[in-house]
Each structure stands twice: as C-alpha cells, then as structure tokens.
Symmetry: C2
Subunit: 354 residues, 2 copies
C-alpha cells in the first residue's frame, strides 16, 4: 500500500503519541522518519518504530526525558538527553544553537545520553533550508574495531554535511565510516550469500566472506576510515562526557545507547551575502556535473543529489509500505490502544490522517 508523505507524518505522530511521547516530540520524530523513507533510507524509516517501542519497554529509551542544557558559554553548548530519542535531542539542540551560530558565525553543540539520531541527512537538509552549513557527527552502538583490533569498540560513526545551494540542490553528505551497515550483512545471511571480504571481520579479527561469522564491520579505507571514526568519537563524546567503546550498551540486548553527538553550525552570511555563497555552490556543482564522464556514466551527481530527486519523485508516488511492515505497524497500534483489534493498515492510516 502506498501512503503519502503527509499520511506518514500523521501515522508516526499518532503511533508515538499513543506510545506516550509528547506530541511535539512525536512530530519531530515523524519528520525525520518520513524524511528517511521518502529519501530511500528505509532502515531509519517506519521500519524502526517497532524497535523504538521495544527500547521503551526495555527501559533504554525514555519518551519523557528531562532534556537539559548543561553548558552554555560563548559559542558552545552541551545538552544532556536523559536517555531520550537522539532525534528529539539533536533537533532541540539545533533550535538552541541556530541563533548563536547566526550571531557568531560558528557555534557548536554536543550532547550526551541520547538514543539514535535517526536519518543523518535530515540535519543536512534542515541546515541547508536555513541557509546554514552543518557538520554533524554521532557515535553509535559499537560495531567496529580499531585498526588492527578484534573487539567491537567503535560505532558506524556517521559524518554529515549540509550546504545550502542556490539553483542547485543543497550539497548533503551522509556517510557512515564503515564499508556497509550490519543490516546488509544480515540480508546476505538470510539469502545464503557470501559477502566481499572487505565488509566485515570474524570474532578473531580476520576478514571473512561468511556473513554468519561477521562480527565486526570493517571501516572504509583501512586506517583512514579508522581515523575518521576516531574523529567522530572525539567530537561526539569528549566534549559532552558521552559514553564510548565498552561504556555503550549492546544493540542485541536493547541496552541504553547513551551515545553522543556533535553539531557545528556555520553561517555563510557572516562571510558574504548568502546569495553570493549560494552562487559559488552552484558554480561548484555545475563544474563537477559538466565535466567529462567515466565510461558508462550518464550523469555526475553531487553528494545528496540522488536523495533530493528521490524525495521529489516519491512525493508524487507515495511510499510503498510492504505487507509485512503494514501488519507490524497495525499490530503495534493495537497493542498501544491506538486502534481497535481487527482494523487493517488502511484504516490505521485513515484514523490518524483525519
């Protein structure tokens, strides 16, 4: 069944409100989850809701956190998320940081004790829409090892950049510092396929092609990806006294994530008129796109361009919710008392859309 962007927003808001999230926070999470599905990043979309509910039940995700600003000095701030959703914490930190960055040109907020921040590119889009450049990092459940190591001590540690464009799309990079996500390896295992030996290592730290033996994810580009992942750990945890390494809970046991984030906002209009900045971004984008193409390549894309186009296309078609996901969400809503037993997914969507 296809649902529209607006329907997904209302659906997520409805389910989360039923799960006891404050309506404002439910709306924030709904925006990030819908962004994720409508840019094709299904791993952080509707499919995550069930896990969030299991985290709440396990006491590792707090729907009513005492979110606090614990430091505010000069151009820097620190926030404590009290084990709440990282999506809510990071968006609130953004709200507080934006005027400071506009005032001083650059400002930085870090956060501790947060669950997952959701789809990273959302924050790049948000900053670009505000005419700001954003640099965002967060650490995550530990799934990778230091270079030369075998223990899981470092997360998939994404790096996110958002840059406002003029006539071009904004430039938005959102990459993890591992080759692939664990989900991709699990998918290979379900299908009985071997994986490239660059993706993961076994328990002993040796490269493996057997997905069932994959224990730690390999960083991109060996020691360089390891270096970048360490950079993300430093920025995301050291300034906020957030957890890292073995201090972070285990994903498999639904333990508290307690991870940290770092948000740096830069205001181009402090440097030049915003229109001039955007014109330079356009000139850059055109220079890249207009260059000669490699064999078999029809078009060169700037980072994030494919997601902007996908979003535009999917706003037309809607997002296709699989039967499996539809019944999962319907069951969840029945359990939460949001809709009566026996209702189908279409009824659920209509229930919240009205």
């Amino acid at each position: 069944m296809h649902i529209s962007y607006e329907e997904e927003l209302k659906l997520v808001e409805g389910i989360l409100t039923a799960a006891d999230f404050p309506v404002e926070d439910a709306r924030t999470i709904a925006r990030v989850i819908s962004h994720s599905d409508f840019t094709g990043v299904y791993s952080h979309g509707l499919s995550r809701l069930t896990r969030y509910m299991r985290q709440i039940k396990a006491g590792s995700l707090n729907p009513h956190p005492n979110f606090q600003k614990v430091l505010d000095s000069g151009a820097v701030m620190v926030f404590d998320g009290d084990s709440g959703s990282g999506i809510v914490s990071l968006n609130k930190a953004y709200d507080e940081l934006l005027p400071r960055a506009r005032e001083l040109g650059i400002a930085m907020a870090t956060g501790r004790h947060n669950a997952n921040i959701g789809c990273g590119s959302y924050y790049g889009w948000r900053a670009a829409a505000d005419g700001m450049v954003a640099l965002v990092t967060c650490n995550t459940y530990a799934f990778t090892s230091p270079f030369g190591g075998a223990d899981r001590l470092i997360g998939t540690n994404p790096i996110i950049l958002g840059v406002p464009g003029g006539e071009s799309y904004p430039i938005v990079m959102d990459i993890s510092t591992t080759f692939v996500a664990m989900g991709k390896i699990q998918a290979a295992e379900r299908e009985g396929q071997a994986i490239p030996d660059t993706w993961a290592k076994d328990y002993d730290g040796a490269p493996t092609t057997d997905p069932s033996k994959a224990f730690s994810l390999s960083p991109i580009a060996g020691h360089k990806g390891y270096g970048l992942a360490v950079m993300v750990d430093v920025l995301s945890t050291m300034f906020s006294a957030a957890c890292f390494g073995t201090d972070i809970g285990l994903f498999s046991k639904l333990e508290k994530e307690n991870t940290g984030f770092c948000l740096i906002l830069i205001d181009p209009s402090k440097f030049m008129p915003l229109a001039d900045f955007k014109a330079e971004v356009d000139r850059y984008a055109h220079m890249m796109k207009d260059g000669r193409k490699a064999p078999g390549v029809n078009e060169i894309f700037l980072p994030g361009e494919i997601e902007f186009r996908k979003f535009e296309a999917m706003r037309q078609t809607g997002f296709e919710v699989s039967d499996k996901l539809a019944s999962e969400l319907t069951e969840l809503s029945v359990t939460l008392g949001a809709i009566e037993e026996g209702a189908d997914f279409g009824a659920l969507v209509r229930h919240f859309a009205d």
Copy 2:
C-alpha cells in the same frame, strides 16, 4: 649523511632566508619541513625545497606576500595569503584564531590564495600542544575526479585532526581523501610495476593498473571518499572565496595554487577542566589499545601514534639525507649565493648551524 633536528631547522631557515623569505617566515616553514622529515613524511620535507624555489621563479609562490585579515567577526576570520606559502598563512591564521577560540570555545579561520600548507599533522601537533582540538582542511592542486567523472577537478584534499592527550600521545589524524598520492604512482612507474586498480583512473575515467596511464587519483571508498573530498572543498574554499576545480593552477606547469584552507579550533577547557578532558582521551586510547588484536597484530595504535614514536626515535638518530637530496640542496644553496661553489653538504649544514 644524518643531520639533527636542530641542524635541519637551521638549514631550511638559512636556505629560505637566502631565497628572500623574511626570517620569521623562514623559521615557520623550517619547523613544518623538519616536522615532516622527522615524522617520516619525506614528501613534505627537505625534498620540497627545490620545488618551492621553482615556484618562486615561476612567479607562483610569493616570498613577500601582503598577508591580510580580510574579515574578523564574532568567531570567524578570513585571511588572504597573496600567493604566499600556505605554511606561513595557516600558522599566522592559527596565531590570530587561538585567543578567539579560547574566548568563545570554538572559532574558525579560512584562507584563500595560498600555496601548499605542508605536512598536515604539524597543525594537529601544534593544537594538541596548546591544549586545543583542531580540525584542518585544505584543497590542493586538482588530481582527482568527482564520482563518475573523468576530469581532474578535486584535490587530494586532506582532513587533519589534533586532540591533546594526557599520559597518552595526542590523537592526530592526517589523511588525504585519495587512496594514494601521485608520488606513489610515479614511483611504481619508475620501477616498471603495475598498480592496483583501486589507485587511479586513466584519462577516460576507467580504472587502470598501468601507472603510465594513471590520470586521476581514485578517492578512498568510492562515493564516500568523494563526499569527504567535497566537504573539504566546501570548508576550504566557499567561506573564503578561494579557488576550486579548474580555477586552480596546474601542478605540472608550476602555476599558482591559490588554494584555500579551513582551520577550526575548539577549546576543551571551555567544556571541562583540561585535565579531565585529557584523562578521557587517555581512557579512550587505553580502551582501544587494550582490546583483542587481529591475527598477526602485536599492537593497536591510535591515529598519529606511529608518527610521535618515529619523531622520538629520529630525534636520537637524526634524519638521513640521501646523496641525491644532499647535492640537490647544496647546488640550490650555491645558486642562491648562500654558500660558495665547491662546498659539500656537510659544509652547508655546518655553515647554517653556526
């Protein structure tokens, strides 16, 4: 012949002063060049001096630039290097930015119209010694293509991080966003060896194993490395109106580099007592180093640790100047009138050491 760290400092200062650099700038460059050789990064050490002289002769490197601060507002600054050494510009920008970062917690300086910044890890060491965290990027001569492209439009675009440690070494990452440097491919060509097809692409943009056909360097990790290189371009050029892509001169023609840099300094002591921050860095380093090792690995290193150890070891042994490099530098010094014809390298070193 082995020369000591102090001898190399004096030697470089002497040659550059003879080449008409102001003595203070010559000293700054000498520190970065000596750092490079004594941490094992020979590509940015003494071997670079001849190229610098050729750049000066070609009018693309200005030894007497009118270095100017063109913007200073809140937590951000912009500098114009007037085609001077990027080493001098970036160090001067650092001097100016440091008190601002200490005052506000974070501050950012960008620069335009600069030649090469030299060995990147130097700036990470410098910040760590000042108890600061530094994030440095710069764009370079264009040697790589956008993902899917064939034209050379993007530099090797390094990312540098410096983090002060306590009992541990500082954490210093200094990575280019390409798989290898062009020098490594040229070395393979000289030795008649094939290169892995991940290193470079030919003129048409197809992967090649023939070093003589290598035209553009491949980014690390495909689209992820491309994204990181674009991030470096944005940070280093957009805020300072520095050159990018085809606006940058050609390396092969000794044209002006006119590249940009971005320096972000963060003061940990704005967030917590510096000793507490350093203790967390130590705890992090120990956690990584104490984990289980992969097969064949004796020790896990933090980013930059190997260079700190190499520096300590080479301070004992001195840096071995090859016969080829020794005569190159001696000839150069004769040409500059710094020493009389017929003198050998040993005499040159003693000449400046006294």
